[in-house]
Amino acid sequence: MTNAALKKTPLNAQHRKLGAKMVDFGGWDMPVQYSGILEEHRAVRAKAGLFDVSHMGEVYVMGPDALRLVNKVITNDAGKLQLKQILYTPMCYEHGGVVDDLLVYKMADDHYFLVVNASNTDKDYEWLVKNAQGLDVTVENISAKTAQLALQGPKAESILGKLTDYDLASLQYYWFDSFRVDGVECLVSRTGYTGEDGFEIYLPPEFAGLLWDKILAVGQDEGILPIGLGARDTLRFEARLPLYGQELSSEITPLEAGLGIFVKLDKADFNGKEALVKQKQEGLTRRLVGFEMIERGIPRSHYPLAADGREIGWVSTGSYAPSLDKNIGLGFVSPRFAALDTEIEVVIRGKGVKAKVIKTPFYKREA
């Protein structure tokens, strides 16, 4: 069934041909799974997976005041970026809540490329335009002219290497470059949202279908699979990578979400600085922790967390974790329940089910 009102990526026909189960993801017609979430998840951990992430938003910030605008809206410090380097950062409101989390690519001293969450693209663009007032800078939403593929997993480099002369081994984590992949000029970064090695590839939409087919074809011997949003979520979750709307929102600060290393409080004035400095001084009233179930049950987003019969927080993400074969969760709790091994309860269908706080990330690839 096709819902004409949904937005489609340039790879929509590919997904349908592969028999993907399609869902409405924030207004986008997206594949949630192809062969099955568990199989896809394991393929990315052991071999390789290819994701269509063309729904993500891309924004150019250009002009003499480009760095001023970027550093005003983000909590990390883009001033430290070198050419072709990338940083991850939250973007905050004045009250410290999060507008979005994003990647910042330094294309030139006066040109930054921002990659934002699909469902936040319009909001982020408006936020950037609003903050650009009085600055000599242009903000351009290039999402519609940009397709994005993510190739992730231990075999990602050898698969991509079959389609380019570029020395991929020289491309370090959180760096990017522009080069030809299967004859098409692409921007390729060594980044991802899975906890594995891999690449994110940006290219014009008209070439996306061909490159998608080509990568799957040349990766076949190495066990590549197309991966849907279902496994994308379980993969990022095991690696404790936050998802906007769950670990982050306008009501949650990056400090509460455990993203303090991406908040440079010594940086000159930026949106939310005052609120975040104050929160740090006064101490947090809730913190994101990881936990695993002791008793049987699967924690799910929004389930309450409790201790001694009292509510102490909520689950932000919970799932069966395929790489660990355990039921685990991330959730916000009062700091006094945040210590490792603290016993808490997840309220599942009205019943308290025992869990304990454990270290995150739940999954870390071997170096």
Binding site: K21, V32, Q33, G36, I37, L38, G230, D233, T234, R296, G297, I298, R300, S319, Y320, P322, N327, R349
Partner: protein, 128 residues
């Protein structure tokens, strides 16, 4: 996969296999395929009594939580404990190894209200 003849079905995608005064209950192959990889099954206690349409258990896939509704009234006489360790049996063999409970039938007349395999397939076709 076709829905076996001789079983009764519900519009909530459960199947019922009558064996004398007992009924084996599971979810259909169509239901497991909608759910995706099943990773957790919560079973009732033996001896528990359920009315028709009561939730007698929960099946969870990676992404979805789904109630299993009792197609008929009855008392639980057996549960498929093996599902606690291998919930994927629901995916592999929904009409066999993936059975969920056995009920002692308390109101046999309720069986007449259930769907035949043909009626269930017609219902699925209309739902598409």
């Amino acid at each position: 996969m076709s829905n076996p003849q001789g079983l009764k079905y519900t519009k909530e995608h459960e199947w019922v296999k009558v064996e004398g005064d007992r009924a084996v209950i599971g979810i259909t192959d169509h239901a497991q395929s909608l759910l995706g990889d099943v990773v957790f099954v919560e079973l009732p206690e033996a001896g528990a009594e359920f009315g028709a349409h009561d939730s007698l258990g929960t099946i969870e896939s990676v992404k979805a939580v789904s109630d299993v509704y009792s197609p008929i009234s009855g008392k639980v006489v057996e549960v498929n404990k093996a599902l606690e360790d291998s919930p994927d049996a629901v995916n592999r063999d929904a009409f066999g190894e993936g059975w969920i409970v056995v009920l002692e039938i308390s109101a046999p007349a309720e069986l007449d209200g259930l769907l035949t395999a043909e009626e269930y397939e017609q219902f699925l076709a209309e739902e598409e």
